[in-house]
């Protein structure tokens, strides 16, 4: 700032900053109507010109000053929480500790990223006033200057009010917290977190009250949303589908969901929420479906899963290949070799168990289907165990409880493996397993009488 600048000159400069800001807001609002000249476009353009006037923003802003500015809101957690009853926070992001985790500490306070929340009807007006008060003049915001009774800043309001100081203090009410004492609510999430190491000691807990990170969510939204509706991503998506060359990347969030906040009245939550039409993107943390078996590996028209389907599985193929390569080096029959053989065997048995789990998760009785008629009984007993619970499957149940099948399945596995390994497997290694323990995951069923 030039020290000899006249107050009026500085006041002019502050005015210019405010006007530039409003011009920028107007330009942004007009952007989406560019090139359109239908009735709706003309109407919206006229509306925008009317809205983005300093006098309008101030007049509406004064009415909206019962709202509050926040980076962390309570209404995002529950729409019934009123701003005068519970704490909403307007954080300066720089004051948060820098962390290795993703959080609001990554944001920049200079970018006017806060939200306005409160009575839904006044959200947009409050938001425009917030943006205006957040304009920067020589490193301070307009709001800060007004708060410090800066005469030049107050002077900028003289055009709009005979008593600019009074209107300044009116406008500033937007920045105040409307809940004077820190407060939470039964409808807010409150988590007990053990800070010590004794869960039974009530004195070692903190209550954590998670607020809705309105600013962070909006920044994430601005990156995620264009992947859904943006033209660039659509073009890239199409190019990928058609196997065409393309400048650019197709971004895809798999399994993502949208959470509606505020129902049909997103403005009841906050202004940024209504800019998002209440649609908030949630990214998927889900694991793969472990039990879903791929159709490719069903033992259709086969006598045994070991005929083809099991060995066709990529993980099995890879391991068998490595196992055979190892055995073909004619390793010394020492402890190291034994361990290696054991590890290979273990991996394959794990694969047997995974494969069985997939088949076992099919609807009980699947082995009754015509296309599995050839499947050997021990394998049916192993892979369709719940069929034993069916009322007219008493014979099946009896065969199951006789418990001959684990040995038989083990033998089948061993035969298959020996064939894969061209007879190189040390004799008896696979047969010697306790197949009953390996395949019979369920000892509780066996011991049902004793342990129930």
């Amino acid at each position: 700032m030039e020290s000899n600048e006249q107050p009026t000159a500085r006041s002019q400069r502050i005015r210019r900053v405010m006007q530039t800001h409003i011009a920028r807001r107007l330009a942004r609002a007009l952007e989406k109507w560019e090139g359109k000249n239908d009735a709706l476009a003309r109407q919206e353009v006229a509306k925008a010109h009317e809205k983005y006037q300093l006098a309008q923003i101030l007049a509406k802003g004064v009415k909206a000053n019962a709202m509050t500015v926040a980076t962390h809101t309570a209404k995002g957690i529950h729409p019934d929480l009123r701003i005068k009853d519970v704490t909403n926070l307007a954080i300066r992001f720089e004051e948060l500790k820098t962390l290795n985790e993703v959080g609001s500490h990554l944001l920049n306070s200079r970018e006017s990223l806060a939200d306005t929340t409160g009575d839904g009807a006044y959200n947009a007006a409050a938001y425009e006033l917030y943006l205006l008060l957040d304009c920067r003049i020589d490193g301070s915001t307009l709001g800060e200057l007004l708060q410090a009774d800066d005469p030049d800043a107050i002077d900028t309001l003289s055009t709009y009010s005979a008593n600019p100081a009074a209107i300044a203090s009116d406008l500033l009410r937007l920045l105040e917290s409307k809940c004077t004492k820190p407060a939470t609510h039964a409808r807010e999430k409150q988590v007990y977190w053990l800070t010590g190491n004794d869960p039974s000691n009530d004195g070692q807990y903190h209550i954590l009250v998670p607020l809705y990170p309105a600013s962070l969510v909006h920044q994430a939204y601005l990156q995620i949303h264009p992947t859904r509706y943006g033209e660039d991503n659509h073009a890239a998506r199409k190019a990928r589908r058609d196997g065409k060359a393309h400048q650019g990347v197709y971004q895809e969030y798999r399994g993502w969901a949208v959470q509606k906040l505020g129902g049909t009245k997103p403005q009841n939550i906050s202004h940024l929420n209504s800019e998002r039409r209440g649609e908030n993107y949630l990214l998927a943390s889900l694991p793969p479906h472990a039990w879903q078996s791929s159709q490719r590996y069903l033992p259709v028209n086969a006598k045994s899963v070991f005929d083809r389907s099991f060995g066709a599985r990529p993980a099995v193929r890879t391991t068998v290949k490595a196992f055979l390569a190892f055995l073909l080096t004619n390793p010394e029959p020492n402890r190291h070799t034994r361990q290696a053989v054991d590890d290979f065997l273990d991996s394959l048995v794990d694969e047997v168990v995974i494969y069985a789990g997939e088949l076992q998760s099919q609807p009980a009785g699947w082995s009754l289907e015509e296309r599995y008629a050839d499947l050997a009984l021990p394998e049916k007993l192993w892979l369709d165990p719940e069929r034993a619970e069916w009322p007219d499957e008493a014979a099946f149940a009896q065969d199951w409880s006789r418990m001959d099948w684990p040995e038989q399945v083990g033998k089948r596995f061993a035969n298959w493996l020996n064939a894969q390994l061209q007879g190189k497997l040390p004799v008896g290694d696979a047969e010697a397993r306790d197949w009953r323990r390996v395949l019979l995951a369920n000892e509780s069923w066996l011991f049902a009488g004793a342990a129930a």
Partner: protein, 352 residues
Amino acid sequence: MSANRPTQPQALLVFPHLRVQNANAISSPLTHGFPSITAFTGLMWALERKLAQAGTPLHLLKVGVVCHAHDEQVVDGYVKTFRLTRNPVDQHGNTAAIVEEGRIHLDITLVFAVAQASAAVPLAQAADDREQDLARRIADVLATLRIAGGTVLPSRKVPGRRTRPWLALLPEDAEAQAVAFKQWRRQWLPGYVLVGRDDLLATRLAHLRQTQPEATLLDAWLHAARFNHTPMPVAEGAAAPGDGKVRWVDPLRGKGTGWTVPIPVGYAALRDKPYSPGEVAHARDSTTPVTFVESVYSLGEWISPHRLQSVHALLWHADTDSTRGLYRCRSGYVPPAGVDASALDDEEPDFD
């Protein structure tokens, strides 16, 4: 008492195939699907308190979760939406405000690392007990608790599925422990274990900054949370594919990169110090300090138990860093030094 609380786990307590109905599927303001891992550390504390009250004191130190099956209550589409329940009207007959709740049904195995809390409940003896009486009694207590807001359905004895809870001593000798772990982990197949992958978030940021020096951790997190399909030029000297089509791949999600997901890992305080007990109105009690927080995020990986070498890899513990106001869960998983892609499946499971 807490001063001489053991920090080393002595035994493993396992609840196989718990069926949880209507667990909370909205795990944070930015993630959905599997409940937050903080729900499981919270469950662990609640369970230890209940056990102490029930006269079965036991220290629960860490928790791990294997997911065998999940059924999120969503409507599929390009973007999923949540299937909502109709809620009763309020006392004046008005419809209550809609708060969208995500729900998921789960089939999970819970693994707790435990230590002996009292000579009256001797672990060695409990582990030896063929009837697994202690584990069964604890399972009864567990069934009364909510798991991530969901209810535990009584487990049905099903042929071919292990559902009986058990407790086993953790061998002190590393080799013996590895041998025991090989048997245990097989029981958790098929399934996926959630492990923490903070390392991948840092790597992704470093990768992005090579071309975008301004990239933030949020950019890196989102970048890693999505697929970035990129058209691949045909390598020099290689034959062009016969169909004339360009192959698109995500160069950072190739073979053996694992099933990486964005996850919430805990909470960060929004002010320097917690409020003193009683200072915050309407807190759940007036004797505990209160802090306003936000969720913080990192990356996790779902990994098949048979890929893990040590039981510690699947266990999480809670960690409070009061100087930074960070309340988060930390995973015991140590990423392998050099990933040997040949040792992994050469086929990733299909999404959905």
